[in-house]
């Protein structure tokens, strides 16, 4: 039995539904010695801003049960360096590319989208509206439906590629935010970002992260991601969703696909196993064969919502 792993994500054909999540795969080059980038569903790049960002001081990372906190602070070389060095490399490696964008205002997001509009190596844009490691809570655009919608509208007026809005589960009503960004023109959604967390070194009586708080990722947050994808997919049927949060195995990916994700992104697992994305992909193929399912796109329809 052969299975069809290809998916259509917002009109873009991807060879597999297993993506490399933003912030966990660098700019692709770092792991190119470990796997074939052309086998990755798509590389979602580390978030790129207009100007280079230096990021936060160290310690930037704290391991927690079944997860980790990070407060990198969006370190990146800026969009011009990204276009000059990273994009040509990714294109040369045959990678499908989702450029993750981050800005401090709707206007900055718009300028980034305009800058990338003519870059053929970029297949989709993902708007990082939900990074918790920002200086002001006001930069977490996805915390508020109207603010998030304004960014999406500005980007859509300038963008040359389909637009995914990456949202946070750290809100009271995620469906309201999702509906607002879809109404504003988002072609799809990425659910979820890290959850804002904090850990304390009790011996030294101080925060474990220099930035005090950070984003929680890893298997610890997977049930939250599954719930969010299920909630939004149910409320907004037909809207493409990239499910992400603690995916480390093919079974984890299948969970998100069954509840309505079009694709999944592997994040923290790539820190432990640089080949995690391709291993989840081959495992998903085996899962589909074992389940007697011919195409990954059929999975959501096979989900039985009633226990």
């Amino acid at each position: 039995m052969t299975v069809d792993l290809t998916v259509d994500l917002c009109g873009v054909r991807l060879r597999s539904p297993v993506l490399a999540a933003s912030g966990c795969f660098g700019f692709g080059r770092e792991l190119a010695g470990w796997l074939d980038l052309a086998q990755v569903g798509a590389v979602v790049t580390k978030s790129v801003s207009l100007e280079p960002r230096r990021g936060r001081p160290t310690p930037r990372m704290a391991e927690t049960p079944s997860g980790m906190l990070n407060a990198i602070g969006l370190q990146n070389p800026g969009v011009e360096a990204f276009c000059a060095t990273d994009l040509p490399f990714l294109a040369g490696a045959g990678a499908s590319v989702v450029a993750s964008l981050v800005g401090r205002s709707a206007a900055e997001f718009g300028r980034l989208a305009a800058r990338l509009a003519g870059e053929d190596a970029v297949h989709l844009l993902e708007l990082n509206l939900s990074c918790p490691n920002v200086e002001h809570r006001g930069e977490v655009f996805a915390a508020d439906p109207a603010t998030a919608a304004e960014v999406v509208r500005t980007v859509k007026a300038a963008a040359g590629q389909p637009v995914l809005a990456k949202l946070t589960a750290d809100v009271t009503d995620l469906v309201a935010v999702a509906r607002a960004v879809v109404d504003a023109g988002a072609d799809g959604l990425t659910l979820i970002n890290t959850l804002l967390g904090m850990a304390v070194d009790v011996r030294r009586r101080r925060p474990r992260l220099a930035a005090v708080t950070g984003g929680l990722s890893g298997p610890a947050i997977r049930p939250v991601a599954v719930r969010c994808v299920w909630q939004v997919a149910t409320a907004l049927p037909g809207v493409p969703i990239v499910g992400t949060g603690g995916v480390a195995t093919a079974e984890d990916a299948a969970e998100l696909l069954l509840v309505g994700a079009t694709a999944v992104a592997v994040g923290t697992a790539s820190f432990v196993n640089p080949r995690a994305v391709v291993e989840v992909t081959t495992g998903l193929e085996r899962y589909l064969i074992a389940q007697g399912v011919g195409s990954v796109a059929e999975l959501p329809a096979l989900f039985k919502a009633e226990r």
């Binding site: 990070n70 298997p219 923290t268 790539s270 820190f271």
Partner: protein, 274 residues
């Protein structure tokens, strides 16, 4: 050199004073490893702590009669290292390596001073062997909080032409910091190159003393690390560009650009409180 991932059998476990040493059958890693490089280890079935742990390579046995092996030395500081300390021969460890940029040997034989703090000394043994093979005379200066926290002073004595020991409490060697005797040592030994591995404040002080004496200095830093492969951006160290010393320091990933840095390139003031 592309690093490899190997399922490694534990060849041996031993206590090394206050520390633990684990020897792993790792032919691919052993073949490629250079002094200063590290491995990322994952062991045990409990995935509630999910990340690998990075360790400098202490010693290497190149493939010969037996398969190649590497030895790492570590301190138990949390559940991850506790699990590693429970490993015994024939257990399996998942290893990535060799990772990072190694120490650079001097272009011509010179007298080298190797400065180690705590278990940081372990990484310098591998280096000492390479330097001796390159006909460099090796001196050791090692320090720790107490005599029990020194790493294998006898081993350093065997490998080095001279050995200077310091402890914070005076329980072995001179009382004080390992940097205290450095100015006199550099002058007396005619040191042409300094290498250091240990806690950040020690590396900052060693770099400063070496720079004051006009002696080149390479340091192997230890920063919290999630991946070891360049994708997590946790293990950054602020470095200045020698071409633009007044520009703001750039955050360099110690897993890719380090862990060995030129002592004058690191912006120590950002890392170590004065």
């Amino acid at each position: 050199m592309t690093p490899v991932r190997e399922a490694c059998e534990v060849l041996g476990y031993r206590r090394a004073g206050a520390y633990h040493a684990l020897t792993l059958v790792a032919p691919g890693i052993a073949e490629a490893a250079r002094p200063g490089q590290f491995v990322e280890l994952l062991a045990g079935e409990d995935r509630s702590f999910l990340l690998r742990r990075p360790f400098s390579i202490h010693r290497v046995e190149r493939a010969g009669a037996a398969l190649g092996a590497v030895e790492v030395v570590f301190d138990v500081v949390g559940p991850g290292t506790r699990a590693l300390a429970l490993l015994r021969p024939h257990d399996l460890v998942d290893a990535l390596g060799p990772l990072g940029r190694p120490f650079t040997p001097p272009p011509a034989p010179v007298r080298c001073l190797l400065v180690g703090g705590g278990y940081g000394t372990a990484a310098l043994f591998f280096l000492a062997e390479e330097l001796r093979a390159r006909r460099c005379r090796v001196d050791f200066a090692v320090g720790a909080a107490t005599a029990g926290r020194l790493f294998d002073a006898m081993g350093a004595k065997r490998l080095g032409h001279t050995l200077t020991v310091t402890t914070d409490d005076g329980s072995a060697g001179q009382r004080g910091l390992v940097t205290d005797p450095l100015p006199a040592l550099l002058a007396r030994l005619g040191t042409g190159q300094v290498y250091a591995c240990g806690p950040m404040p020690m590396l900052a002080a060693v770099s400063q003393v070496a720079a004051e004496h006009g002696v080149p200095c390479q340091v192997a830093v230890e920063e919290l690390m999630a991946c070891g492969t360049g994708v997590c951006f946790s293990c950054v160290v602020p470095v200045t560009d020698p071409e633009a010393p007044d520009a703001p320091a750039r955050m360099a990933r110690s897993c890719l650009e380090g862990p060995v840095f030129d002592g004058t390139a690191v912006a120590w003031a950002e890392l170590v409180a004065p």
